[in-house]
Symmetry: C2
């Protein structure tokens, strides 16, 4: 307990070696009444399911400008992104989107409607982006952002955006802005090599 | 390896005692560069994040009748439900919804658009229901269903439905059927005691 703290890390996604309930070695097999291989524990009987994660964020608009953050973390370090991050336990997608906006941009926003719902199966994720109105041009980017800034539409750094869900959400917004109607868009992002 | 198989179980949600990477005891603390308590391992440095799960299903319609399944599993054993279940790794919400329909009802369907997206924060879940057209009245319910059956609108067993997301999805459908327009509905289900 007095040894120096280790370097913290996020375990290689989806790899489990020991049972989180009893500490015994895990094996991979199909449990009873199931139809796919799971991480199971033959010592205590625990079945360790794993499921996709949700990423929640906003498309924040301030007087016809778009708020973007430049990432201070991997993946996509130094790329520009819409404020977004993993949904946490106990919150709604809307609450998570507002929290991420606060953490990454420190922006005051008024949350609008859900705008894009995007399946990203190769990343084992679903992404949600809300429209949002920025209420002040004061920004206080947090440690996950190198900076936060407003961009005119014609100045969006398309070649330096972080993720395809960010690119496509912005593309939908620019298209819908011509009509002023912003319905929910739901679509999949295919595997990168399948595009 | 030759001992009798234990009774398999799904560990009490969200409780972890041992590190899945090295088997050491887990402690709860705020890791560096984070802002909330996580399950962390001071032996190997693993941070074990936990996130909400997605439930994916369909609202299957056959000649003005609704397909429901009577649950053969807890929770809500014996209650009627729309076919739905936990989204699995590597699939889209649409693929998961089709898989669950096959597993629980054995129904041939043509998947329609995403219809309801429902935040259920107290259950740490987001539910997705798609509209679907049933292509044949032949049903082959699987082991998670006691039976599967078609219901006329006036015969829907409202008092014996499984979950509030099922109730509200059906309510939206009946209201929208009057206009023939079925937009995406996004809303939250509040805590039961807050209703």
């Amino acid at each position: 307990m007095t040894s120096p703290a280790p370097n913290f890390y996020f375990p290689a996604p989806r790899v489990q070696k020991f049972c989180s309930q009893c500490g015994a070695l895990i094996i991979q097999r199909i449990p009873p009444d199931d139809n796919r291989v799971r991480d199971v524990c033959d010592n205590c009987g625990a079945v360790h399911y794993q499921n996709p994660r949700n990423v929640v964020g906003v498309l924040p608009v301030w007087q016809d400008k778009i708020l973007l953050c430049r990432r201070a973390i991997e993946p996509r370090y130094d790329k520009w992104t819409l404020p977004a991050g993993f949904m946490e336990l106990g919150e709604t997608t809307a609450q998570g989107a507002m929290r991420e906006t606060q953490e990454e941009a420190g922006a005051q926003i008024e949350l609008g409607p859900l705008y894009t719902v995007i399946d990203v199966p190769h990343a084992e994720q679903v992404h949600f982006f809300y429209l949002a109105k920025v209420l002040s041009d004061e920004l206080y980017p947090g440690p996950e952002s190198l900076e936060a800034a407003f961009f005119d539409i014609e100045d969006i750094p398309w070649a330096d955006l972080s993720f395809r869900t960010v690119v496509t959400t912005l593309e939908h917004y620019l298209a819908d802005a011509k009509t002023g109607v912003f319905p929910v868009h739901h679509y999949d992002i295919p595997l990168p090599d399948a595009r």
